[in-house]
């Protein structure tokens, strides 16, 4: 019996269905042939996964930028500036991060106002060159130097 052909034959890929299923589960929300045809879908899926990987850092960066914008807007409404708030708070050793400050500005506006006053009072006492604030010192703030 000629067994060469039998020995040299290769079994078909048993995992084919499941391999494609893994891809189609991730491309189910695509449009047209991109979701149904493997060789087309796999190309778009690879790009999508690359974007997912890259955007993990970008998401954090975007979030920080958004918080900074919101804090700046909140400060400017109260006659201060983002730089004044941050530098004044650093000198008072108040270590609140930008996420918390943004949340305070939205949900706890009076606390945020108090923080701007504290920072402004500190900068009145220890002015920073280049950071000019000509508004009168905020009332109701008691600093260490006063006592």
């Amino acid at each position: 019996m000629l067994i060469t052909r039998v020995l040299c034959s290769r079994t078909p890929n048993a995992d084919g269905f499941w391999k494609r299923r893994r891809v189609f589960k991730l491309t189910a929300h695509y449009y047209g042939r991109k979701r149904n045809c493997y060789s087309i879908a796999i190309r778009y899926l690879h790009r999508a996964l690359v974007y997912v990987r890259k955007s993990r850092k970008l998401k954090k960066r975007d979030a920080v930028e958004l918080w900074q914008q919101r804090i700046s807007a909140g400060c400017r409404e109260l006659g201060s500036s983002y730089e004044a708030l941050v530098r004044g708070m650093a000198r008072c050793q108040i270590a609140l991060d930008r996420k918390t400050l943004a949340n305070l500005a939205i949900w706890e506006p009076r606390t945020f106002k108090s923080l701007t006053h504290i920072a402004a009072a500190k900068l009145q006492r220890e002015p920073i060159k280049g950071l000019n604030d000509f508004s009168p010192p905020p009332a109701g703030v008691i600093t260490r130097g006063m006592l």
């Binding site: 189910a28 997912v52 949900w107």
Partner: protein, 183 residues
């Protein structure tokens, strides 16, 4: 994994009826264990039933346990929750310890479907002082102010203007005692 997955929806974390705020109510309503009395794949389930099931039933008095011995079927467990969700799990070739762990997982779950959480905190009352609105930091006097107003119509003092600064610089450059030329 992208976040726009159809098979892993995203949502915010929640509990049914603020469970745990007062009394904690286990959300598992009933658990059905289906197994075969002979087949080898059900050995783990059979061992679990013989040894640990009574203890499980005593520790979870709010959960009803149903046993369904079915010939020539693979073992499985179906958990039904108080909000109507069903969770199916195949227990084929599981060991006794594995079944115990999966059962405890089913017990501690609420019926809310598995999802990607967008935030790991939730609160019904995010603000105590009141949410910011454009009138939060405004003085209430503007409600009854008649414009043009003495104070409110004037610009806010933002320090010396450019003109003022130039005048200051000019004055500094002036000589106070000019030398008179000798004739």
């Amino acid at each position: 994994m992208s976040n726009k997955h159809l098979f892993l929806p995203s949502g915010f974390i929640r509990t049914p009826l603020q469970n745990g705020l007062g009394r904690y109510i286990p959300q598992l309503q009933r658990i059905t264990l289906k197994f075969c009395k002979n087949h080898g794949g059900s050995r783990g389930v059979r061992d679990f039933i013989e040894t640990d099931l009574m203890e499980f039933a005593k520790t979870n008095p709010g959960t009803v346990v149903y046993l369904k011995p079915r010939r020539h079927r693979y073992p499985c467990m179906v958990a039904e929750y108080l909000n109507g969700e069903r969770e199916y799990l195949s227990c084929h070739e599981f060991s006794r310890a594995e079944i115990q762990k999966w059962l405890s997982y089913m017990c501690t779950r609420s019926g809310i479907p598995v999802m990607r959480f967008r935030k790991y905190q939730h609160t019904d009352y995010p603000s105590i002082q009141g949410v910011w609105n454009p009138f939060t930091h405004q003085a209430p006097e503007i409600n009854v102010a008649q414009f043009p107003h003495e104070i409110l119509s004037k610009p806010v003092n933002n320090g010396p203007t450019a003109t003022d600064q130039l005048i200051e610089i000019f004055k500094k450059t002036q000589i106070k005692d000019p030398v008179k030329p000798e004739h």
